[in-house]
Symmetry: D2
Subunit: 312 residues, 4 copies
């Protein structure tokens, strides 16, 4: 057989009551397209989590918390599998919404948005969030903000840590408890940001946009090895990948779960190979992209890796 | 709570050694985007398989057999879960390739196709198929063709049944054994077709393009209820859906796994709601589309449904 | 400058009343992503049309005629720019619908399909086709079929030629007038096919599925050079590309306009490089894929090339 | 004809030397899929630009400047067609790179990224940027930063205005000259940000993350009407749309050019209808999404609208 050929493709035969790890194993033996990529992603993510020398980054973009994926993230934090979290402001907003007891609801993507507007329901594809959740959110967060030290200057992650200490569940809570940093470079671009603007009308606490950079850079310079699980693109993906640009290192492990595509040129859909040209990830890095909806690929990936690590 | 809101979104918390059914159940409680759709698809597919009155169609498009998905299809046939299979010619070609003992191989999508050409390897995204497989294929299929009755006129499904009786494994074999029809309207558009053209140079057997229609139409007219699992679009999807157009009925169950998108107007990406306007599926039909790579969504869906049906 | 770098990217500055050719030229000087690809596609398509030695194939998939793209195709035929057309049955059905004076209508993709069903309107994304068009279609086509010679055996392209001779406009009409072959391997998979099944209930004309292959193969073997413009994927794309597989040649020019993506493994989204590994296109072939909706890319491409060729 | 049906679809017939406006007009008469949407987008964008009461927002995401789209943006600013620009940091970085005389180059998406790394070339899909550009960038921007008033506290837009005043061409220059604000909430997430971190190691100028909000909010509260052209998603899209959330108004005009898809739930691919449920755009707003690569759709849209406005 030609040496370019790897293992033979094994046709999948399913059994009732297969575990997720067994299913992903079967996808790996089939080995093709995104099913094959998912299996390779599980191998890379497992190696990354087992590698004690590796600083583990997690990028969270896309409306993942309203879709129920927040639980996976907070559990990963609690289990010590995330050292640095970078998130969009929206995910953190929805995390707080759930942490204060409000809920997102199963809805529909084919409905009248004008009618929803009249009913005071905000839509996120097929998830509904009644507007009253934002009223509770406002009450809660203004109270939290009011406890910030007047006239102080703080970083975005300090603001988020402060919020996390005031909640009893969710991502920010888990991160505060584990004392891992949560970065959100565009925090203004969220309900947290809009509420902070309201607060700043009558209060004087400066959020220093760059105050998080020194610690992050120290972290990157001191990291022996680095790995990243990137859910979606946007600011979290780039902010994580660029963090190594100033150092002599690059990421050694990288897994990307995205629904975007490379040919449009945007960084969200860019391949991880492209990141090698920049030195964001190392030449030898193990890296793979799984294209698809993260509401399917993230639970699959993490459940498969949890199963593998549980065998120890 | 506003009546438009369904159940609350439940954040996913994964456990080691979850079964696939449990994972899909958790996706259902999260309930959003394609993860939520996959859960609903499992419910519809389970109902369809359990409904004794339902004639069960399966559409197979996209290069699924080279990706190891053929085993799932042949198992579904063997278990009696497919009454009518409609496939592209390519999937049947690759099914025969495997049935005669040749293999597809794990390869790479980023390689030199000119080099592969020199090495006589055919690429299907990241799957490699050495060209010699087609030499064995030619020998096998010409021998099979040579046993067709001279001067006869047969249907495409009869040709495929004839091939299936000559193989010992795979989709066509399973279908021949279970005596279910396999339709492949564009059989010319495949290696099977090119080989048949070679055969027809020196032999006279007419493949009547429309000879399969009467039986299919009888089947559709007599079906009390009908259901379809559509993997990919193309000819299989449309041929299945249009088959009900001439009858007073429509499909009662429909699940579509596709990576295409609706806004380009093509039928492959069209929503199943669009099919309601045509009467291809009934007004009340349970129908759902799961967007994503079928190398992930098909094993997930079928494993989850097998698990549910195993509980009986 | 490093030799890997091509020309510098030129920022686009638009002027009022630019011609399409000027705009595509500006996209070429920008040179990036699909805008750059479109410019390269124009160069390849122009070279292909100007090359007297080249047999010119056109693949037509996706619901292009309901979207008004049929006029571009029939004009290309009339101008002698298409030697072989391969189409889905649906496009030909809709071509006949328009040729007999029925119309498609601007509609909406966000509407109630159940309501449309009650109003007897068939939806194709945001195009509406009243069901009565199919009543006229039935009357027309049954009359055309009735003029086929009883007890005869004909090819699919002969059937389509027969229809084209009975229409006064459109693609089939233009093709019949120019005497170019129209291939439609899956003709059964369309309203033309369903109507033919009706006809065949009481008439005996055999449509030989493989009767078109000898002429097509002769055409491929005798072609000095070959080029293809592929709109969408499906059967037309593969049928065109595979037609060269049996010959010692391959396509020398290939332009693909598609909205599909490669990573799902399906042929519709496959890169043209992949086709090099199979020998479907030559190692040196000029080939490019433009990703996007063909309702935008096809008019842009053809208008730009018409403008260039008009300068002679 | 059923009242749900709009105008009939007009088949497109192209003429040599058509202007872009004529081509887009023909797409509008065809009226289907994204070609039809592009025509409607031109109508909305024209109405928005002509409406003197409308504050005009422009969102710029995706690697548009490396692809040559920056010229379109700076021209729109110069012509007075943008009142507020919201951009990713990456686009502004590449804008500065070009403004200081460095260039991006035509490259290839299928190449060895490891080799590019060795050659010190950074890849953005098929665009190459030699690393030395960033050396010039560093020299330039550190010099610009060094002129900031020590110990001061400024907003992100003030920082960007300061940079724009130091350049002689490009987006930031045009914006500074026209005195329109440029917002970049996640400025840390870019080379500008990394360079600022370097600067901040030895200098003390605070970038107040929220200092831009009061002016933006004043602008939103005082806007009689508002319109937005959104190129790509990410932070710019959301930041623009959410800016109206705190006001009693919403956007009256909105055009979105995106390659993302709605079913993944992310805001980048979300429909503009979804934004109605939130009140980000008004119930009656004219809004349309054109799916596709903005390197094609943006030049087409703007050229068509320039042509229409030139007729006055």
């Amino acid at each position: 057989m030609n040496k370019q050929c790897g293992k033979p493709v094994t046709q999948i035969h399913l059994k009732p009551k297969m575990t997720v790890g067994e299913l992903v194993g079967a996808m790996g033996k089939a080995g093709a397209y995104n099913g094959g990529a998912l299996y390779r992603a599980a191998g890379i993510y497992e190696a990354m989590l087992r590698d004690k020398k590796t600083t583990k980054f997690f990028g969270l973009a896309g409306a993942m918390v309203p879709a129920g994926m927040g639980g996976i993230v907070s559990d990963l934090i609690t289990r010590g599998h995330i050292d640095v979290l970078v998130s969009t402001g929206a995910n953190l907003t929805h995390d707080i919404v759930e942490a204060i007891g409000c809920r997102h609801y199963h809805g529909s993507a084919s409905c009248s948005d004008v009618e929803l507007r009249h009913d005071e329901i905000n839509r996120i594809y097929d998830v509904f969030l009644p507007n009253e959740a934002f009223e509770h959110f406002e009450t809660f967060i203004q109270d939290v903000f009011s406890k910030l030290e007047p006239e102080s200057k703080i970083s975005i992650s300090a603001l988020l840590r402060h919020i996390g200490k005031s909640t009893k569940s969710g991502i920010l809570h888990a991160a505060a408890k584990k004392e891992i940093p949560v970065y959100c470079p565009a925090v203004q671009d969220s309900m947290v940001g809009l509420q902070y603007w309201l607060f700043s009308q009558t209060n004087n606490v400066t959020i220093d946009a760059f105050a998080d950079m020194p610690l992050l850079m120290d972290l990157c310079f001191s990291a022996k090895k680095a790995g990243a699980l990137l859910v979606g693109g946007g600011v979290p993906k780039n902010f994580i990948l660029q963090s190594m640009l100033m150092t002599p290192h690059g990421f050694n492990y990288a897994v990307q779960l995205t629904g975007d595509r490379p040919d449009l040129g945007g960084l969200s859909g860019a391949t991880l190979d492209e990141a090698r040209s920049w030195g964001k990830i190392t030449e030898e890095a193990q890296a793979v992209t799984v294209y698809g909806d993260a509401t399917i690929t993230l639970p699959l990936l993490v459940a498969a890796v949890m199963e593998r690590m549980h065998h120890d």
